[in-house]
């Protein structure tokens, strides 16, 4: 721990705060485009109508969509952590009943001390596959969740290492950005499903009106008609791509952070080897974590979906993977462990 890491931590926190704000702004702007884009197309196609036909002059769609976007962002930001926890079916561990649970609570409290954080709330996900994630909007109100499989599989030291990794995410405020992202990605996916259904039925019933009104004029004003078509295509593409774009965002945001959280975890426990063996165990248990769905995947310590793209780095994986390859993470941790041993003189200089 040097002064440099302290400075980096502060910069990380600031960057995460800033990125969260940009994310929310981008989200609202995206909704505004969906609304105002529709208005523009509608306005262009009704502009030349005779005085007694409908002229779309007030951008109702745009105003409505912006309001909806802002509302969803506000709601998503406020309820993000609860939504994430709810989606995984986690239960809160308040009164530890078994030795295992008592150990988990102890381990979390120990790591909170090491990280200099208030004790997070502890959740257990009823899933046999080992995995863990952290969520929350700030350091004071954070949550750490582990699967039952992780508790069963890991030794005390390994559990400690995994919790330290998660608290690393809490400490540098990764959780704030990633939870907001999860809430917004979820909202987009939900919206897309709902609006997709609405749009297909709307197109079917609306075709009669549009065909009757605009069809004959399209030939006269060729330039304008093309503009409308380009806009329309662009607009529809955005609608179709919305969930994919938000997925890309989730992926890009989370990969680099895993390395950083690994390093912070190793710094809290001073035991990088424990995290390396824990990751090996998580990797070896190949079944996917079925309770954790796509929406919260980027929050987890290991990809719960078990996707093959996470095995490599570069190329397509840089686009599609939410997590860096496990082998690379383990190699880095082993490197840290080797450095430590050498520094302590317990290892013959090779």
């Amino acid at each position: 721990m040097t002064d440099e890491t302290g400075l980096n931590l502060f910069q990380q926190q600031e960057a995460n705060r800033r990125r969260t704000i940009w994310l929310v702004i981008g989200f609202v702007l995206f909704f505004a485009w969906l609304g105002f884009g529709g208005d523009l197309i509608y306005w262009l196609s009704t502009r030349d109508g005779t005085p007694n036909t409908y002229h779309h002059t007030i951008p109702w769609f745009g105003l409505l969509m912006t309001a909806i976007g802002a509302g969803i962002a506000r709601y998503g930001f406020a309820t993000g952590p609860n939504k994430v926890l709810w989606s995984t079916g986690a239960r809160e561990l308040t009164e530890p009943a078994t030795d295992q649970e008592r150990q988990l609570v102890n381990v979390v409290e120990e790591m909170a001390i090491a990280a200099g954080l208030p004790r997070p709330r502890i959740w257990v996900v009823p899933d046999a596959d080992p995995n863990a994630f952290a969520t929350g909007l700030d350091q004071a109100k954070s949550h750490v969740a582990v699967t039952q499989g992780l508790i069963d599989l890991c030794s005390r030291d390994e559990l400690q290492a995994v919790i330290a990794h998660e608290l690393g995410h809490v400490k540098n405020l990764d959780v704030r950005l990633m939870t907001t992202l999860a809430a917004l990605v979820g909202a987009v996916a939900l919206m897309h499903d709902g609006m997709g259904r609405l749009m297909t039925s709307g197109f079917r019933s609306g075709r009669g009106i549009a065909g009757g009104g605009g069809g004959s004029r399209g030939g006269k004003k060729g330039g304008l008609g093309q503009l409308v078509i380009v806009l329309l295509v662009l607009w529809v593409i955005t609608w179709i791509l919305a969930p994919i774009i938000s997925q890309f965002l989730a992926m890009a945001v989370s990969r680099k952070r895993e390395y950083l959280a690994d390093a912070m975890g190793a710094q809290f426990t001073r035991n990088p080897m424990a995290l390396a063996t824990a990751l090996q165990k998580i990797e070896a248990a190949e079944s996917p974590t079925s309770t954790i769905k796509r929406g919260a995947a980027h929050l987890c310590i290991a990809d719960p979906l078990g996707r093959r793209v996470n095995l490599h780095e570069g190329g397509l994986s840089n686009l599609l993977a939410t997590h860096p390859p496990m082998a690379a993470r383990i190699a880095r941790l082993k490197g840290m462990a080797y450095q430590r041993l050498k520094a302590e003189g317990q290892f013959p200089a090779a």
Partner: protein
Amino acid sequence: MGGSLILLIILVVVVLYGVGAYNGLINLKNQTLNAFKQIDVQLKRRHDLIPNLVNAVKGAMDFERQTLEAVIQARNQAVAAGANAGPAAMKQVGAAENQLSAALSRFNVVVEQYPQLKATANVAQLQEELTSTENRIGFSRQAYNDTATQYNTKQQQFPTNLFAGLAKASLAELWEITDEAERAVPQVDLSMKPKA
């Protein structure tokens, strides 16, 4: 006119930097103090735990009376040392707590030698509590040392050191293992022979 404007801008930048540096130092100072208090909290937790531990194993460990008594004695000394704690007594407290740590680790080794004792649910639970407490103390010291190192580095580095006097910053002492015996590699007797 232009010259005085440039001078003014430089002055404002210097003042702004000074405010930032000052606040940074105060922030780190308070964090260091807080981290130090956290060690106290964890030590107190350990003191409260030990009577329970001793009571739980007293009946079953009559033959290891010596080990138990050493733990109780070390605990009482640590409590006494902590009672009149001040900056000056820090060394004393540290020594007493290290004694206690040593006594407890001896106790743990002894418990490991008696599987039937370890199998008792109560003892297993207490052992977990003890492990956790030792970890907490260790981690709170680590957190203190990390914060104090950050604080010390900051107040020595240029140009923050120019504002160290203003912020009444002074070097924080790091927590070290003072007991030579603890620094040494522990000798564990694995002969499994009952002790005389």
